[in-house]
C-alpha cells in the first residue's frame, strides 16, 4: 500500500523540527498534527506526548523529522535529523524536506525492521496530502461514523481511512491549546500557534446561560404543570382542546421551549444542531409574529377588519340561501322530488337564519375579540395562523353542519339501497361469515322490500345532489385550512440554523472530501490538496428537519374517493392523538 502522509497547510512554511502525529497502520497513513521546533529536551517531549495521549485517548507519537531549507541544504542538519531517529523510535520513520523556495518536496521512509511481507515492494511510494487543520477540526462528516471504542490508537478496520483522519484531528484538541506566547517547555506549530481562537461574546453567553436557563426552565415547568392539571382533562375542555389547532400548536411550542432551556448539555452534535435549529425557528416565529402585530395594530386595521367581517358573513349566508333556492327549484335542468326537496331546503334555510341571528348578536363584541386575538401574534406567527384556521372553522360551522346532515342522509340511503338490492336479488349479508349468502324470503318481505327499494332509488338523485353541493363546499373550507396548516408546518420544521451554517460556513457540514493534484515533478512524491466537500442543501434539509405536528392527510386519494362515494365523513387534516369518528 502507498504510504499517505497527511500534512497540515499551516505548517508548510515553519522552521525545521519534529513531526508529531498519529500513525494508522491499517490504512498506512501518517496524520501529522503539529511540528515541534528546536531546541527541545527529549524527556520533556516524551512527557508532553504521554500527557496528550492520556487526555485525548489518541496515540500521538513522534513520526519523523521536518526540514525546511530556505537557502542551500545544510549537511550537518541532515545528519542531525537522521540521528534523531534513534532518540524517538517509530516504525516507519518519515523524513520530510522542503527545499529552495518551496516547490521541491521530498519524503523518505525508513523501516527499522525488515518488512514482514516478503512480496511487498522494496521501495515505498509516498503520497503527501495537505489538509486545512482548522476546517477538518470543525467539520462533521455525514453520515457520522460511530467509532465504538475510544482506546488509544484503536480504530476498527471497517471505518474508512478518511473518517480516521477526521476523528484523530477532532480528538487532539488538547494538543492545540498552547500557542507561541505560552512559556512552555516545548514550542509547537499548529493552526492555533499564532493565538488561540476565542470569542468574548461566546464566553459571556456561556457564563450567563447557566442561571438564565435554570430560571426559565423552572418557569416553563410551572406553566406545563398548570396545563396538565385535572381541570383541563374534564370532558368539555378536553374535547375543545383537542379540536382546536391553536392548543396543539401552543403545546408544540412549549415542548420546544422546554428543550431549549433544559439545563442538560447536548450529548452529541445532532442534539446540539436540534437545539440550535429549534432556537432559530422560535426566534423567526416570534419576529414574524411581532411584525404582523405591528402591522395589525397600526392605522386601526383591526377596526376595518371587524367592520368588514359581519358584512362578509352576511354575504356568505345570502349566497348560501340563493344556492338553496336554486336547489329547491330545478337545478341544472334536473327534476327533483318536490316534497323531499322542500323539506330539506326549508330545514337548511332555517339553519342559515339561526346562524345569521347569532352573527348579528355577536357583532358589537367582534372588534374587542379581534384585538385580543391579534395580541396573540406576539407568541409567534404560527399561533396567529392556527388561530386564523380555528376562526375560519368556527365561522363556517354551518357549512360543516350541512355537510354532516347531507352525508349522514346519503350514507343511510346508500346502505339501505345496497341491503335492499341484495334482497331484490334474493341474497343477504351474513354477519357471522362476513359474506353475501343466498336467502329465501317470504312473499310479504319481498313485497315490502321491493317497495322500499323503489322509493329509496327514486329519492336518490335529490339526496345525492344536496350531498354533492355541501361536500364541495366543505372540501373548499378544508383546502383553505390545509394551506394554513402547511404554512405552520413549514415554519415549525424548517432547520434555519443548519441552512445558515451551510450557506456561511460550508466546511462545517461535510458530505465528504475532494482532492486536487498539485504541481507534480518526476521523481518527487505526489502532492494532493484535500478539501471539504460540503453537504448539498437537500441533504441538509432532510437530515436536520425538525419533527412537525404530524398534521398530514391520513388517507390516500383512493381511500378519500371511496369515502366520498359511500358518504362516510372525512377529516383529512386530523390532529395526532384524535379519536376517529
Amino acid at each position: 500500500m502507498v504510504l499517505k502522509a497527511f500534512f497540515p497547510t499551516c505548517c508548510v512554511s515553519v522552521d525545521s523540527g519534529l513531526l508529531v502525529g498519529r500513525w494508522v497502520p491499517e490504512h498506512s497513513s501518517a496524520v501529522v498534527l503539529a511540528v515541534l521546533h528546536f531546541p527541545f529536551i527529549p524527556i520533556q517531549v516524551k512527557q508532553l506526548l504521554a500527557q496528550v495521549r492520556q487526555a485525548s485517548e489518541v496515540g500521538v507519537a513522534v513520526l519523523g523529522t521536518w526540514c525546511h531549507c530556505r537557502q542551500e541544504p545544510e549537511e550537518s542538519l541532515g545528519r542531525f535529523l537522521e540521528g534523531l531517529g534513534a532518540v524517538f523510535p517509530h516504525e516507519p520513520w518519515l523524513q520530510l524536506c522542503r527545499e529552495r523556495g518551496g516547490t521541491l518536496w521530498s519524503c523518505e521512509v525508513t523501516h527499522r525492521q525488515a518488512p514482514t511481507d516478503p512480496s511487498a515492494p522494496g521501495e515505498d511510494q509516498v503520497m503527501l496530502i495537505f489538509y486545512d487543520q482548522r476546517q477538518v477540526l470543525l467539520s462533521q462528516l455525514h453520515p457520522p461514523t460511530v467509532l465504538p471504542d475510544r482506546q488509544a490508537g484503536a480504530t476498527p478496520a471497517s471505518t474508512g481511512g478518511l473518517a480516521a483522519v477526521f476523528d484523530t484531528v477532532a480528538r487532539s484538541e488538547v494538543l492545540f491549546r498552547s500557542d507561541r506566547f505560552d512559556e512552555g517547555p516545548v514550542r509547537l506549530s499548529h493552526w492555533q500557534s499564532e493565538g488561540v481562537e476565542a470569542s468574548i461574546l461566546a464566553e459571556l453567553a456561556r457564563r450567563a446561560s447557566g442561571p438564565v436557563c435554570l430560571l426559565l426552565a423552572s418557569l416553563l415547568s410551572l406553566v406545563s404543570a398548570v396545563g396538565a392539571c385535572r381541570v383541563f382533562k374534564l370532558w368539555p375542555l378536553s374535547f375543545v382542546g383537542s379540536k382546536l389547532s391553536t392548543c396543539e400548536q401552543l403545546r408544540h411550542r412549549l415542548e420546544h421551549l422546554t428543550l431549549i432551556f433544559s439545563t442538560r448539555k447536548a450529548e452529541n452534535s445532532a442534539q446540539l444542531m436540534r437545539k440550535a435549529n429549534t432556537v432559530a425557528s422560535v426566534l423567526l416565529d416570534v419576529a414574524l409574529g411581532l411584525t404582523l402585530l405591528s402591522w395589525l395594530h397600526g392605522r386601526s386595521r383591526i377596526g376595518h377588519l371587524a367592520d368588514a367581517l359581519v358584512p362578509v358573513a352576511d354575504h356568505v349566508a345570502e349566497e348560501l340561501q340563493h344556492l338553496l333556492q336554486w336547489l329547491m327549484g330545478a337545478p341544472a335542468g334536473l327534476k327533483m322530488n318536490r316534497a323531499l326537496d322542500q323539506v330539506l331546503g326549508r330545514f337548511f334555510l332555517y339553519h342559515i337564519h339561526l346562524w345569521i341571528s347569532y352573527i348579528h348578536l355577536m357583532s358589537p363584541f367582534i372588534e374587542h375579540i379581534l384585538w385580543h386575538v391579534g395580541l396573540s401574534a406576539c407568541l409567534g406567527l404560527t399561533v396567529a395562523l392556527s388561530l386564523l384556521s380555528d376562526i375560519i372553522a368556527l365561522l363556517t360551522f354551518h357549512i360543516y353542519c350541512f355537510y354532516v346532515y347531507g352525508a349522514r342522509l346519503y350514507c343511510l340511503k346508500i346502505h339501505g339501497l345496497s341491503s335492499l338490492w341484495r334482497l331484490f336479488r334474493g341474497k343477504k349479508w351474513n354477519v357471522l361469515r362476513q359474506r353475501v349468502d343466498s336467502c329465501s324470503y317470504d312473499l310479504d318481505q319481498l313485497f315490502i322490500g321491493t317497495l322500499l327499494f323503489t322509493i329509496l332509488l327514486f329519492l336518490l338523485p335529490t339526496t345525492a345532489l344536496y350531498y354533492l353541493v355541501f361536500t364541495l363546499l366543505r372540501l373548499l373550507v378544508v383546502a383553505v385550512q390545509g394551506l394554513i396548516h402547511l404554512l405552520v408546518d413549514l415554519i415549525n420544521s424548517l432547520p434555519l440554523y443548519s441552512l445558515g451554517l451551510r450557506l456561511c460556513r460550508p466546511y462545517r457540514l461535510a458530505a465528504g472530501v475532494k482532492f486536487r493534484v498539485l504541481q507534480h515533478e518526476a521523481g518527487r512524491p505526489l502532492r494532493l490538496l484535500m478539501q471539504i466537500n460540503p453537504l448539498p442543501y437537500s441533504r441538509v434539509m432532510h437530515t436536520y428537519r425538525l419533527p412537525s405536528c404530524g398534521c398530514h392527510p391520513k388517507d390516500s386519494w383512493g381511500a378519500l374517493c371511496r369515502k366520498l362515494f359511500f358518504g362516510e365523513l372525512i377529516y383529512p387534516w386530523r390532529q395526532r392523538g384524535d379519536k376517529q369518528d
Binding site: M1, V2, K4, M127, S158, G512, F515, V517, L528, N533
Partner: protein
C-alpha cells in the same frame, strides 16, 4: 504524460477523452462533452417566443410577452447550471479512492469521492434504451452489512458511449 482521443456518443455528438498519468499511483481521465449548439438554442427560443406572440394576439395582454422573455432567460440559466455538463473527470488514486467531478456549463462543479475500501469492482453495464443497447461504466460499492453483497451501483460518466471505445478505456485503467 498526456494523451487525447476522440469518440462519439449515442446521439452522434463528439466526445474527447484525455488521459493524464501523474505517477504510478495516480491517473486522471477527462471526458469533454459536446457543447451547447447555437442551432438548438435558437430553435427553442424562437418556438417559445412565437407561441407567446400567438397568445398575445389572442389576449391583447403585454404581460405574456414579458413573461415569455423571463421564462426563456430563467430556463436557459437553469439548463446551464443544472443540466448541461461540460466536462467529466475521473481521478483514480491508488489506495485512497476514486473521485468523479462533473463541471457544468455555468462553471458549477460537483464532486463525489468514493474511498477505495468501499469499492468492490468497476464493470461495464449494458442497458436497453429505446431501440439500442448502450454501455456505461459503473462502480459497484460494497454493502456494509453483508460482505459479499452490493449496496449501490454508481455510473461513472453521464454520457454513454458505444462498447468498443469503452472497452479500450477500461483496458487502459485495468
Amino acid at each position: 504524460m498526456e494523451d487525447e482521443r476522440s469518440f462519439s456518443d449515442i446521439c452522434g455528438g463528439r466526445l474527447a477523452l484525455q488521459r493524464r498519468y501523474y505517477s504510478p499511483s495516480c491517473r486522471e481521465f477527462c471526458l469533454r462533452c459536446p457543447r451547447l449548439s447555437l442551432r438548438s438554442l435558437t430553435a427553442v427560443t424562437c418556438t417559445v417566443w412565437l407561441a407567446a406572440y400567438g397568445l398575445f394576439t389572442l389576449c391583447e395582454n403585454s404581460m405574456i410577452l414579458s413573461a415569455a422573455i423571463f421564462i426563456t432567460l430563467l430556463g436557459l440559466l437553469g439548463y446551464l447550471h443544472f443540466v448541461k455538463i461540460d466536462q467529466e473527470t475521473l481521478l483514480i488514486i491508488d489506495s485512497l479512492g476514486i473521485q468523479m467531478t462533473s463541471s457544468y456549463a455555468s462553471g458549477k462543479e460537483s464532486t463525489t469521492f468514493i474511498e477505495m475500501g468501499k469499492v468492490k469492482d468497476i464493470v461495464i453495464n449494458e442497458a436497453i434504451y429505446m431501440q439500442k443497447v448502450i454501455y456505461y461504466l459503473c462502480i459497484l460499492l460494497k454493502d456494509p452489512v453483508e460482505p459479499h453483497g452490493i449496496a449501490q451501483v454508481v455510473p461513472v460518466f453521464q454520457v454513454p458511449s458505444s462498447g468498443l471505445q469503452l472497452k479500450k478505456a477500461r483496458g487502459v485503467e485495468g
